[in-house]
């Protein structure tokens, strides 16, 4: 077994020291070592989007990112979207208002993706939202409500 790497990971504004094998993904480091289980393991092969987190403010798939790669980068997970005890993020509030989920397993990934989608300027129309949210699968099929939630959150965040 390869000697574990000692990494300093900056997650949600706090620096954590972890010792992990080089092959450990960011998703596994978050869930198994930092006990941040908001990021979900769906397919674990880059196809479902449930593991979406932000690295330096951009949405990426933590299941296809090695933990070692993000040393020196800023990682944000769904747990870090708002400060402790703060109000819900407008995207979280919109998902609640529109009932944009059924089982909820894909929801943290959907929310992290939607926050970035709006920030990128890719939520200009329902068609654009569908295109730029296509990397987040919802097997319950809550897509119409998800699109409505993203649309509302975009308006809320603009005002």
């Amino acid at each position: 077994m390869t000697k574990p790497l000692k990494l300093k990971l900056e997650v949600n504004g706090k620096t954590h020291e972890v010792a992990v094998e080089p092959r450990v993904t960011l998703l596994d480091a978050l869930r198994e070592h930092l006990h941040l289980t908001g990021s979900k393991k769906g397919c674990d092969q880059g196809q479902c989007g449930a593991c979406t987190v932000h690295v330096d403010g951009e949405r990426v798939l933590s299941c296809l990112t090695l933990a070692a790669q993000v040393e020196g980068r800023k990682v944000t997970t769904v747990e870090g979207l708002t400060r402790d005890g703060g109000d819900l993020h407008p995207v979280q509030a919109a998902f609640l208002a529109h009932d944009a989920f059924q089982c909820g397993y894909c929801t943290p990934g959907q929310i992290m993706s939607a926050v970035a989608c709006i920030k990128e300027g890719h939520a200009g129309s329902d068609a654009e939202i569908r295109e730029y949210m296509s990397g987040n699968l919802c097997r319950c099929g809550a897509y119409p409500h998800i699109v409505a939630a993203v649309r509302q959150a975009k308006e809320a965040m603009a005002s």
């Binding site: 077994m1 080089p22 880059g46 949405r59 990426v60 090695l66 070692a68 890719h122 730029y132 990397g135």
Partner: protein, 327 residues
């Protein structure tokens, strides 16, 4: 996933030295390497992380053309206003590829090195035979389910489709791949499978893609990328075409036309027969339709993928008529 060592390099020279080691693989966006390591297809002993190198992610556009640094992210190139204006087919090929998250990870250089999505290639546990993975072991796809396999450029050793979108647009507009000082035309960068399908690119051990340049042209400016697939988004092409068009001053005679195909061939496929037939002709739907059929003259269907031979010419026609403003 097999265990491996990890090195984050501080310079390109260090990366070149390590990349030349047997069992070493370069890590950029990781969207292919980490995925294939989980499938048991990629089994590196040593992973060389080049993502912390500075100065390799530039995107520049000037009168001569575009310069895309090897570590530029797909999403950044797709959204670049100058690329969208001067090379629309490049931007469209990029934003129609993968998902928003993957495009924030994957790099321009890494994109060219992506491996085929052949289901037999990706599943070594169930299908030990694969000439790409193990030269001489055979091809499980031949005689198998071949709906997504190639109809152009195949051999009796391999029928795997090159899955790229960006590479198709680069092929249409004569892009050049920079391997440090060495430069190679994109059409020579991708190799036909022949009897050696494990050799996919003209990259030697220790060489690293540093940039891609695309010469400016009137055809690249008046271009599009049309991608037809089984679902509307986040899917590989069943058939795609990057086309560009330049008309004479009369507004109807074709001076220059570029056509490259994706989803149907073992490498990004320039359809030169179509281009040659159309140059000098008057732009008209019937002319374009007839010329588009020429792209499939050497096509060989495997059974399930016969539909691609019918589909590809229609994709070419629609794309040319769209940039020509008559569709």
């Amino acid at each position: 996933m097999k265990d491996f060592s990890y090195t984050r390099v501080a310079s390109l020279d260090e990366a070149r030295v390590l990349a030349a080691h047997a069992g070493a693989m370069l890590l950029a966006g990781g969207t292919t390497l980490v995925d294939l390591a989980k499938c048991g297809v990629a089994m590196p002993d040593e992973v060389v992380d080049i993502t912390h190198l500075d100065g390799l992610d530039a995107i520049k556009v000037d009168r001569d053309g575009a310069y895309l640094g090897a570590l530029a992210k797909m999403s950044h190139v797709a959204d670049d206003a100058r690329i969208r204006k001067e090379f629309p087919a490049v931007s469209e090929a990029l934003w129609q590829a993968a998902s928003a998250q993957l495009r924030n990870m994957a790099t321009i250089g890494g994109n060219l090195m992506q491996r085929t999505r052949c289901a037999y290639f990706r599943d070594p546990a169930s299908f030990p035979a694969c000439n790409k993975r193990h030269p001489g072991s055979g091809c499980a796809a031949l005689g198998g389910v071949t709906r997504n396999h190639a109809v152009l450029g195949t051999s009796s050793y391999c029928i795997a489709t090159n899955p790229g979108d960006l590479a198709v647009a680069l092929t249409a507009f004569d892009a050049v791949i920079h391997l440090g000082e060495r430069r190679i035309a994109v059409d020579d960068f991708f190799l036909l499978p022949g009897a050696t399908p494990h050799q996919e690119h003209a990259v030697e051990p220790g060489e690293i893609i540093t940039a891609v340049t695309i010469p400016a042209s009137a055809a690249a400016k008046r271009s599009t990328y049309l991608k037809v697939r089984d679902r509307q988004s986040y899917e590989f092409a069943a058939s795609s075409a990057a086309v560009g068009l330049e008309l004479e001053a009369d507004g109807k005679t074709i001076r220059d036309v570029r056509v490259a195909l994706g989803g149907v061939a073992t490498k990004p496929w320039r359809a030169r027969e179509v281009e040659a037939h159309l140059k000098g002709k008057t732009l008209a739907a019937e002319t374009v339709k007839r010329a588009s059929l020429l792209a499939m003259e050497s096509a060989v269907a495997q059974g399930d993928n016969h539909y691609k031979i019918d589909l590809a010419p229609r994709v070419i026609t629609r794309a040319i008529l769209k940039v020509g403003g008559i569709a």
